[in-house]
Symmetry: C2
Subunit: 350 residues, 2 copies
């Protein structure tokens, strides 16, 4: 069923039917009702492509997700972010177009999407420091919203970020307050902006207390379970092993926990762990009491909000680009405790 057929059935012109459906005022209210009824009755939906051609808008947003070529690694937070953004798009009648791209080929993909008119705007995932994609998108003239920020880029752009610096500073402070001094940082790849900022927060906190920053207690890589495990194993083998770990993601923290328990330690008693929890739907941090003490911020909510920001930007190009800085909350769970006094065996206790 297309417009032409529908209008023939109704004995009206395409113009009138189109206007009736799109809520234009210059159509008799009775006629509009008649049209509306007929449209639902015949299950009419305007053809996306035709509508797009006529209006010049695609009513679609692209997500270009970079894939680490080396490990064919897709960021696990992606699914939940998409789910959140998808809600916003659905509410606003937009489609979501996804391209999974080897990092490096991205520029071509953006140009393509723009030139072919597939989308009206794009979400940029996984920004790096001085990320070249941002000036690129400005140059191309494709509206965008960044999930995160890019240190070093000072032109205004639309973004949503978690305050990673303050989150990790607070987490570090929390561990310092518990008496820990040898605090390890198991971080994401530090050319990624978020990881860079987290490290900044960690160092700020240490510096503020005069605790020396020891690069031997810092690791940085893709945030897999195995990476968490290996990092903890290595650092536990040191003459002066860390008494606490600050970890960049839940998955990574699971690896750290494995190492800790495999070594016969009790999490939260012998060794403390704080992680960042993106609140992924399939990786909830325990039940009532969180397993891990964690800085927490919903990546799904981030998806919802950033999508809104971008749609706003598209509908009003003149307004300055919006941005949102989310504060993560620190949830105290069972994975942290005061620095274990290496005094007599714990027989006295318990």
């Amino acid at each position: 069923m297309n417009l032409k057929e529908l209008s023939t059935i109704l004995g009206l012109s395409q113009t009138t039917v189109s206007r009736a459906l799109n809520g234009y005022p210059e159509v008799n209210e009775a006629t509009r009702q008649r049209v509306l009824v007929a449209a639902t009755q015949h299950n009419y939906r305007p053809n996306t492509r035709a509508k797009g051609l006529a209006t010049g808008r695609a009513l679609a947003i692209g997500h270009v997700i970079p894939m680490a070529t080396k490990h064919e690694m897709v960021n696990p937070i992606f699914a939940d972010f998409i789910a959140g953004a998808g809600e916003t798009y659905a509410r606003n009648g937009y489609d979501m177009v996804i391209s999974v791209v080897d990092d490096g080929d991205e520029a071509q993909v953006y140009r393509n999407l723009k030139a072919r008119g597939t989308i009206d705007g794009v979400i940029l995932h996984g920004p790096r420091m001085n990320d070249p994609r941002i000036p690129l998108l400005d140059e191309i003239g494709l509206p965008y919203g960044v999930h995160g920020r890019a240190s070093g880029i000072n032109t205004p752009y639309c973004w949503l970020d978690v305050n990673n610096r303050s989150a990790f500073r607070r987490a570090t402070d929390f561990l310092l307050d518990l008496g820990h001094r040898r605090i390890a940082l198991v971080n994401g790849l530090e050319f990624m902006d978020f990881a860079h900022r987290r490290r900044g927060g960690y160092e700020d906190a240490l510096r503020a207390r005069g605790v020396p920053i020891d690069t031997a207690l810092m690791r940085s890589d893709e945030m897999t379970e195995v990476f968490g495990y290996r990092s903890a194993v290595e650092m536990m083998a040191r003459p002066e092993p860390p008494t606490a770990y600050l970890v960049a993601s839940m998955i990574c923290a699971l690896g750290v926990r494995r190492a800790i328990e495999e070594a016969g330690h009790v999490l939260g008693r012998d060794i403390s762990v704080v992680t960042h929890d993106d609140m992924l739907s399939y990786l909830q941090n325990g039940g009532d009491v969180p397993i891990f003490t964690a800085t927490r911020s919903s990546v799904r909510e981030a998806g919802r909000l950033l999508a809104e920001l971008l749609l706003d930007r598209i509908s009003d190009t003149t307004a300055p680009p919006g941005h949102i800085l989310l504060e993560a909350e620190l949830m105290v769970g069972r994975s942290t405790g005061p620095l274990a006094t290496p005094a007599l065996p714990n027989s006295a206790k318990d």
Copy 2:
């Protein structure tokens, strides 16, 4: 830059330029080269919507991913599957359109996508037994490929599945061979087809050895870490706890492991665990030696292959729908071992 502009620059008609670019024979080879050069030079890309309008094809595939409304739960294998399918689409010039939908609203979404002509076909995720979406898609006339199968539906359709039944039968056999008799099944939701089949394989194996099937050793729910943990905790508290666990996913197995280690047992010595490993990029099963003994099958590869199957189906509607049954391999890791001979008190037993 559009066709009209490009053809003006070249001093040719739109027809000729179009044909040159699309590889039609009736254009002089010299002219074609001239066109090709000009096209790349001016960064020309045909407008997707216009092309779609003219050809009647969208050059896009939809993925409708159902979301458990209750828990806002998105299946974690989704990201990797998408990455695989995305590769195939990119290679074939297709876009990927994703809709995240509350389960229940799906029918409307499919009708919409079809009526609006947004896509040429769709991938159906998470099929259930007698899944009503399959007859629905047949009725609508929207080509589709199913990731999995739907028991109870006997009309031919295009699918790709892992042989879940044989995989879980083999895994169970493996545990039986090691001497285990009380083998727990920590399964996914059993109205999902894959979980149903896995349970079938598990029961087949037990039955074949005359081992009684004990529903007290079976759990079924969404495959989260917490679910794995709780299931194991509960079952370990039984008077005759399982000596081995067959678990439906890595994430779930992480929870089972947590419960086991928290109870002071050693994984692979005191208690065995076999899981299914979808080879998710961010959840690799250990390094050289897998942590978990697992039935293994790459969900990313599944994405690649199913996408190909669907594109084939779309390009040749007359051919019978293709399907692929992947066999999972059983990787022996460190989480399994022979039945521990009960040393002290339990020695009288059995």
